[in-house]
Amino acid sequence: MNSSIQSNRRRGKAFTYLLLVLGCGFVVVPFWFMIATSLKPQAYIFDIPPKLIPEEVTTANYTEALGKDLFGIYFLNSMMVALSAVALTLFLSSLLAYAFARLEFPAKEQIFYVLLLGMMVPPVMLIIPQFLVAKNLKLLDSLVGLIVVYVAMNVSMQTFLLRGFFEGIPRELEEAALIDGASRWKIMWRIVLPLSRPGLAVVAIFTFLYAWDEFPWAHVAIRETTKRTLPIGIALFQSQHLTQWGQVFAASIFALIPVVVVFAIFQRYFVRGISTTGLKG
């Protein structure tokens, strides 16, 4: 009796693993295929049957894509835009969140709700007026134009998130410092921010991934070749070199490296961030 329950359980567990591994297959095979294709010479790209392990391995796609096109520059552009967007979002959202968490001022609730509107607006809907605003401010074809829009798109959500974190810090810590004559500004920098590292990490990760992934706005705002970010560079490269899939994927893998690195380093913050806030990566 007992042993039959045990063997049942073992069978159940084996079944669980089987399904999980099957799921992994669905996830991994496309990525694997991408890597394999990036290592194939052009002649083998549409080989039948498709080979998951290249018969002939070459790094030509990488050297060619990176040399012929401007992927090095796109990479730097993307990196600059993403890091600037992260820094600015962290700074501005922290200030806002601190005000909403700890300061008293008139119309506080109303201002907060207006800020939350930004979480509900479908981003692509804003592209037309953002285009016109950016045009008037001479921010088209400039990385600054990308950065400010990315910050504006993230500031609501991240302020909301950080306010929650700041409110969780015991007030006593701040009150002691207030009595000692420290200013609110100093308190935020010296006490609140250092205690909110996990929250700041979540903000940084999601803003980085957002900026690294963003396509619609960059697609509209950037015309000049040397100002492109990676998603734009890759999409346009593919539409110009329709069948050069090896090079397309070499560039894609190049673009994927920072994402995987960020993910690997911050994995634990990541999972916590998603499951406590429902942020969508």
Binding site: P30, M34, P106, G118, L132, V148, I274, G278
Partner: protein, 312 residues
């Protein structure tokens, strides 16, 4: 600290106005930088867009734009291409949202068991979520290529389901197969993590008691897990529906913006084309507002359904 502002005796009113002004001044340092960026690049544009949608907008000289009232909206509603785009977008949402939820919850149930390597699976399943849309879209496009694509080879030579290659990307209906599958494939990892957090909040005692009382796993899932997971499921549905309605990149790249014959548009790819290819800014703005209104309605439903659970 709020006690001071509550001192509302008439004699103190003068002082408290001064106080609240001083408070505003002190808070301004914290508020102005963020609100300036937010106002200039999000709130301002949002309002501006409403204005544009009532004009035949002249991009070269906006002062010469013709007011057309609700003309752009009426035009959209009568436009067969727009209607088709709405249908395509709704179908996409109706396919991908249940798809993501069923697969995601199933994954979460598997991951919620006491198994080794849970962290590993979790990380792996999350990989598609963090990969940029452009990359995964091109990857799916390549796998679904008619001649020499991985999918056709699997279906024809390995499984024997089809006799000859299917030209997925050239057909106005079949082209949605890779688009829908991509939507599910990319979103499942996120759905699973949210669902897993919900499952972990369910007290294990409840399930143990039920199982001692002889409840089968299916009965336990139906009568305990599912009802307790309901708030999480509602949240998932709403967020995923909004995401589905806003789908854009996969369609833009795979159909090359509505090809063939403008029959494969999503609302947003049509908006993009109207605005930036035909320079019909007023029409594009009207379309985006129609979509936003719909999304807003969905958000309101979300807040209603979740109000009891979440304090905003």
């Amino acid at each position: 600290m709020t006690a001071t502002s509550a001192g509302s005796a008439p004699a103190m009113r003068g002082r408290s106005t001064g106080l609240s002004l001083r408070r505003l001044g002190r808070a301004a340092l914290f508020l102005i930088p963020g609100l300036a960026v937010y106002g200039t690049f999000l709130l301002g544009p949002m309002v501006y867009s409403a204005r544009i949608s009532f004009y035949d907008w002249n991009i070269v000289d906006p002062t010469r734009s013709e007011p057309v009232g609700l003309g752009n909206y009426a035009r959209a509603i009568a436009d067969p291409v727009f209607r088709r785009a709405v249908v395509n977008t709704l179908v996409y949402t109706l396919v991908t949202v249940p798809g993501q939820i069923v697969v995601g919850v199933a994954m979460a149930l598997l991951l919620n068991q006491a198994i080794r390597g849970r962290a590993f699976f979790r990380v792996l399943y999350y990989l598609p979520v963090i990969t940029p849309w452009v990359i995964v879209t091109l990857l799916f496009e390549y796998m679904f290529v008619g001649q020499g694509g991985l999918v056709n080879w699997l279906l024809r030579d390995v499984l024997g389901v089809i006799q000859q290659n299917v030209l997925w990307l050239a057909d106005p209906i079949l082209t949605f197969v890779p688009i829908h599958l991509l939507g599910i494939w990319k979103g499942v990892g996120w759905t699973a993590i949210i669902a897993l957090a919900g499952l972990q909040a369910i007290p294990q005692d409840l399930l143990d008691v039920a199982s001692v009382d002889g409840a089968t796993p299916v009965a336990r899932f139906r009568h305990i897990t599912l009802p307790l997971l309901r708030p999480v499921l509602v949240f998932l549905v709403v967020v995923l529906v909004i995401g589905g309605l806003n789908a854009y990149i996969s369609n833009l790249l795979i159909t090359d913006g509505g090809n063939p014959l403008d029959r494969t548009h999503f609302v947003l790819t049509l908006m993009y084309e109207a605005t930036f290819t035909r320079l019909d800014f007023g029409y594009g703005a009207a379309i985006s507002y129609l979509l936003a209104a719909f999304v807003f309605m969905v958000s309101v439903v979300q807040i209603r359904l979740l109000r009891r659970r979440v304090e905003l």
